[in-house]
Symmetry: C2
Subunit: 295 residues, 2 copies
């Protein structure tokens, strides 16, 4: 479950409530696409904006729609007690694993974050993925903290945010493997980094785009993990205009626009105050999509 391609679906809203029929269609589409797992209630799934009842409804909807595809569920919240509630709910609903990012309002110390993961692992029976997403959490993991967490029983995988400038994916993975034991997988996020990172030895791709366009993501993942450099390069090159839009507007606004464009969700699926892209930006999204074979 912690290798290959994990797709991060949107949790679409309709008039500020969960659009359960649209969410079910998306999860069913992903389950039918051949992705290796579905990670619901990730950042792309707007977990941070949803209350406990909404998350429970989303869990019930997704777990009914996912069939045999394993479901990892995000459980993050600003307060430990809320994280523990979400963890219990996700387990009770049948999620096979949990994803936890250290959300912040007040800056957290490494000991705060270690304590959060320890408190969760004491209470849960399913594996936990460490979710390092500094663009949204503003918490920066050190490699030493990765190492401390990876040594905790129950940590199954670490989702890293990308490859820093000035270092190759292979060099970065070697650094990480110095502190992370082999039974804990390392997964790349930051879709633009995925092709290189998978070729360099990342075992998983935790993917925003795969939650809305699983086909093009699967082509990259299969070529990269199958050791076909030219097919990887070709599949990855077609996505570059989309990655530029991710960088400019944030991946969430772009995949929401794609989902609207494809009729997967209704207009305005994101939680306010996040407004969707304007008409000019949507035209750029359509252009970028036109370059993606099967996109």
């Amino acid at each position: 479950m912690f290798t290959g391609l994990s797709a991060f679906p949107l949790t679409p809203l309709r008039e500020d409530r969960l659009d359960a029929p649209a969410f079910e269609r998306i999860v069913r589409m992903l389950a039918g696409s051949g992705v290796d797992s579905i990670t619901m209630l990730g950042s792309t799934g707007s977990y941070a904006y949803l209350d406990r009842g909404e998350r429970q409804e989303a869990l019930a909807t997704a777990l009914a729609a996912a069939g045999e595809t394993p479901v990892i569920a995000g459980i993050g919240a600003l307060r430990t007690s809320a994280v523990l509630d979400h963890a219990q709910d996700a387990q009770d609903a049948g999620a096979q694993a949990l994803l936890l990012a250290p959300m912040t309002y007040q800056a957290l110390t490494e000991d705060d974050v270690f304590g959060l993961f320890s408190d969760v692992l004491e209470r849960v029976a399913v594996p936990v993925v460490v979710y390092d997403n500094p663009g949204t959490t503003h918490f920066r993991f050190s490699d030493a903290l990765y190492g401390r967490l990876a040594a905790l029983p129950g940590i199954a995988s670490i989702k890293i945010p990308g490859i820093p400038a000035g270092i190759t994916a292979a060099e970065r993975l070697a650094q990480l493997r110095d502190v992370v034991p082999p039974e804990v997988t390392i997964g790349i996020s930051g879709d633009a980094f995925a092709a290189d990172a998978l070729r360099a030895g990342c075992e998983a791709w935790y993917s925003v785009i795969a939650g809305t366009l699983p086909g093009p993501a699967l082509r990259i993942a299969r070529a990269a993990l199958g050791g076909d450099p030219s097919a990887t390069a070709e599949a990855a090159a077609a996505m570059r205009p989309l990655w530029s839009l991710f960088a400019r507007h944030g991946s969430l606004r772009v995949v929401a626009a794609i989902a609207e464009e494809r009729g997967l969700v209704r207009a305005h699926p994101l939680p306010l105050p996040i407004r969707g892209l304007g008409e000019r930006e949507r035209a750029h999204v359509r252009e970028a999509l036109a370059a993606v074979p099967g996109g």
Copy 2:
């Protein structure tokens, strides 16, 4: 209400629930101290960590304890619909004004933030303070956005985070007064900047330290607003060791330790995953406090 010293109390927890008796004691102490207003459920009041029911209980407690001292209530949340709920609750409880910071998980655009404030102002009858706290929200207001917001009917004050390096407080205030009309007050936060900013013409000090040690803050505010430079300098100098600790550990952890030290709250008043200061840091807090006359 939007001038002078506004004290930001802690919202203390006890075993992960609101410690209402301790909170009531703190608010009563502040009301008796002579501060010009009390801003509850600010960042120091852990608003971001509290659910709707907890905030309602805190509102009822504080408004009963504040007597004649005006109460401004924080209403921030990640989602607009939650902000509107909190605004309604605060108004219903009797808060005289509202404080709103643009909390973020996904980065917000200026139009997102303008839309958030507009949506709130359409629904509320009491004035709103714009809360610019980039250290916690990671949103950076431009001066142009200050200007757009200050022009909205209902905006009463702007709480600025401090004075940027390389510019004097007077120069910064002149820049702000170019875009903010005179009927909207400008208040300083970042306690370390307060003495200079008040002397340079800031009309209000939105103060963390005043929520726990109102006396020393009142001395600075009265000297600065009363035009007594030497008394201002003396009162401000005594606080410098505390400001250093604020910078090192975050003001919240330091004021929580002071409140514990003074018996205002029980041990561990902060919401996990935020752990309090360790014993060594608490010794530094005690040393810094010893330098504060009446602290």
